[in-house]
């Protein structure tokens, strides 16, 4: 699975201050760290950047000076994204367009104009689709629209829009189902997901196990990439095939094989319990590892 490092994100205080002060060093250092940690892409999130869309252009230049890693330009504002596209040395990934009319008309054409790949989410003017089928319906429309603009399936990275498990456990299950359906639905498309969102609102020390377990589950269903916390070393190890025994355990529990969870060592037990919750078999609560 390809990993897109999420750590340059405008919500982070360090990042927003560095961007506001045009502090190149801080941002270059963050980019280098993510590159060193083996991220395949580095996401540059500037938020909506309504007052200053040009900031993306500046950020892209700054980061390009420090690393050769692929970039994902993350903003809902097409002006900001285009400011980045104009100065990028090689075509970045656009993050993201959606099925919203405005996004289809203004963001998606940038992928044609700059000949790059683009993340396309299932979001539409009605909001986030409720289940896997509604997600499928929404994305078929948007991808067809993209095809008409001359963007091949292979250049579109589909994002099912993940909500926190503490908000919508059904949504977590729906994203898994949708990921499984996707190759039949739209042959050739790639996929991605905002992985850390699954653990938003969860106590800090419990976030990692949710992120990691869900990544392994998605990977099994063919998810092409994920936008992740680059600093999570165990997550990187899992994604790079360094923890095959955990992956195997996750698959077993997904398959409903008889696993005596309580006899497992603590780490394995946590993964197994988390799979049960993310499959929707056990009602989520912040105490899920303790029962």
């Amino acid at each position: 699975m390809l990993l897109i490092g999420e750590n340059i994100h405008i919500i982070s205080k360090v990042v927003s201050e560095a961007v506001a002060d045009r502090n190149e060093k801080v941002l270059q250092q963050m980019a280098k760290e993510q590159a060193d940690m083996g991220m395949d892409y580095i996401d540059l999130n500037v938020g909506p950047a309504r007052k200053d869309p040009e900031v993306m252009g500046w950020l892209v230049q700054v980061v390009q000076e420090a690393v050769d890693t692929h970039l994902a330009l993350d903003s809902t504002n097409p002006y900001a994204v285009e400011a980045g596209l104009k100065v990028a040395k090689w075509p970045p990934l656009i993050n993201s367009s959606s099925g919203k009319q405005e996004s289809k008309e203004r963001m998606l054409p940038l992928a044609t104009k700059y000949d790059c790949e683009v993340i396309v989410s299932v979001l539409n003017d009605q909001g986030i689709p409720a289940d896997a089928e509604a997600r499928a319906e929404s994305i078929m429309d948007t991808v067809a629209y993209g095809n008409e603009l001359g963007i091949d399936n292979e250049r579109m990275w589909i994002d099912p829009i993940l909500l926190p498990v503490s908000v919508s456990q059904q949504g977590v299950v729906a994203c898994l189902e949708f990921t499984q359906m996707l190759p039949d639905l739209l042959p050739g498309v790639k996929s991605t997901i905002g992985l850390s969102n699954i653990s938003n609102g969860v106590p800090e020390e419990l976030r990692g196990i949710l992120n990691r377990t869900y990544m392994v589950m998605l990977d099994r269903h063919g998810m092409h990439s994920a936008i992740v916390d680059a600093e999570d070393a165990e997550l990187r190890d899992l994604a790079r095939g360094k923890m095959p025994e955990i992956v195997e355990l996750v698959h077993k529990v997904m398959d409903g094989e008889d696993v005596d969870i309580n006899s497992l060592p603590p780490k394995e037990r946590d993964y197994a319990k988390t799979v049960k919750v993310l499959m929707g078999e056990i009602l989520y609560s912040h105490t899920w590892l303790e029962t």
Binding site: S166, E281, I282, L283, Y284, S285, H286, T287, T291
Partner: protein, 300 residues
């Protein structure tokens, strides 16, 4: 060949919780089916839902005249008010300790416990005691009530995530049951239940997922209450198998419409109550005697 209808049954069971002691003992819960799902032999519903009538420890302000009327000669005396509710056929007395709230009269835990004792002595029904949800004051009040009424197995609450520990510890020490209240959120409800069961046995806990009035967001409360039963009965989640209480009367009567017309108000409370019965509530807390009799006829 005779036709045999396929029957869907579940493996989970709502826990039986006994409230009160000796002659005033009432057991709720114990069902292996969802509410009203007893057309065939799906399972059992051994203890029909029970109804509590409200008594306040202080004279209510701003009640509609038609909801005050049946109680107007007793609202100054909680013991007499409770007696009135007992005569009306209530299963439980629900005693609301409004006066203890720092924003009201800020009466002391000792005073509150004294009122509870008086009410208890005046009737032969088990009691449900509610504080006002004040994070700091409720533990002090309920701990004192627990102590004064030691061993009488009252149902007391609400224990919320911010203050469940002292309340549950007092209930444990003096043998009472506790209401676990979460704000219309099934995930937070489960978390609270998990934490509470480290102090109290699960069969000393009743869940209050909050209950709003018809027309005021009842869909959300219904969904959470119903889903609680799904998770407990259908999916056998032992942390969600406690019986539930629907405490909606004050939510109904604070609204404009029930205050404007008597018949409408009574129907409003009745329909709201019926809705929570369908969601699987094991105890309803009601106010108007006519709305109460309407629901009482349905459950018995």
């Amino acid at each position: 060949m005779s036709f045999k209808a396929p029957v869907e049954s579940y493996k989970g069971r709502v826990l039986e919780v006994t409230i009160g002691k000796g002659d005033r003992e009432i057991t709720i819960g114990g069902e292996t089916v969802l509410s009203s799902n007893q057309t065939f032999d799906e399972g059992e519903f051994p203890n029909a839902p029970k109804i509590a009538l409200e008594v306040w420890d202080t004279e209510p302000q701003g009640w509609a005249p038609w909801v005050l009327e049946p109680y107007k000669d007793v609202v100054g005396d909680p013991a007499a008010w409770a007696k009135r509710c007992e005569e009306a056929g209530a299963d439980f007395i629900y005693l609301y300790l409004l006066s203890t709230d720092p924003n009201e009269k800020d009466t002391s835990p000792e005073q509150a416990a004294e009122v509870v004792k008086k009410v208890y002595d005046a009737v032969k029904l088990p009691l449900i005691i509610y504080g006002t949800g004040n994070e700091q004051k409720d533990p002090a009040v309920l701990s004192k009530v627990a102590e004064v009424m030691s061993g009488e197995n009252l149902l007391m609450g609400p224990a919320i995530k911010e203050n469940f520990e002292p309340i549950a510890n007092a209930a444990k020490q003096h043998d009472h049951c506790v209401v676990a209240q979460a704000p219309v959120d099934i995930n937070l409800q489960k978390e609270l239940n998990v934490k509470l069961t480290r102090i109290l046995p699960a069969d000393k806990i009743v869940l209050d997922p909050l209950a709003s009035a018809l027309g005021y967001g009842i869909e959300y409360c219904f969904s959470v209450a119903e889903r609680t039963k799904h998770v407990g009965v259908m999916f056998e989640d032992t942390m969600m198998q406690m019986p539930t209480i629907a405490n909606f009367a004050s939510e109904v009567w604070k609204n404009k419409e029930p205050k404007q017309a008597e018949t409408l108000g009574i129907a409003w409370e009745g329909v709201t109550g019926m809705t929570y019965l369908l969601a699987g509530a094991n105890i309803l807390v009601m106010r108007h005697p006519e709305a109460f009799s309407m629901i009482k006829q349905i459950v018995s």
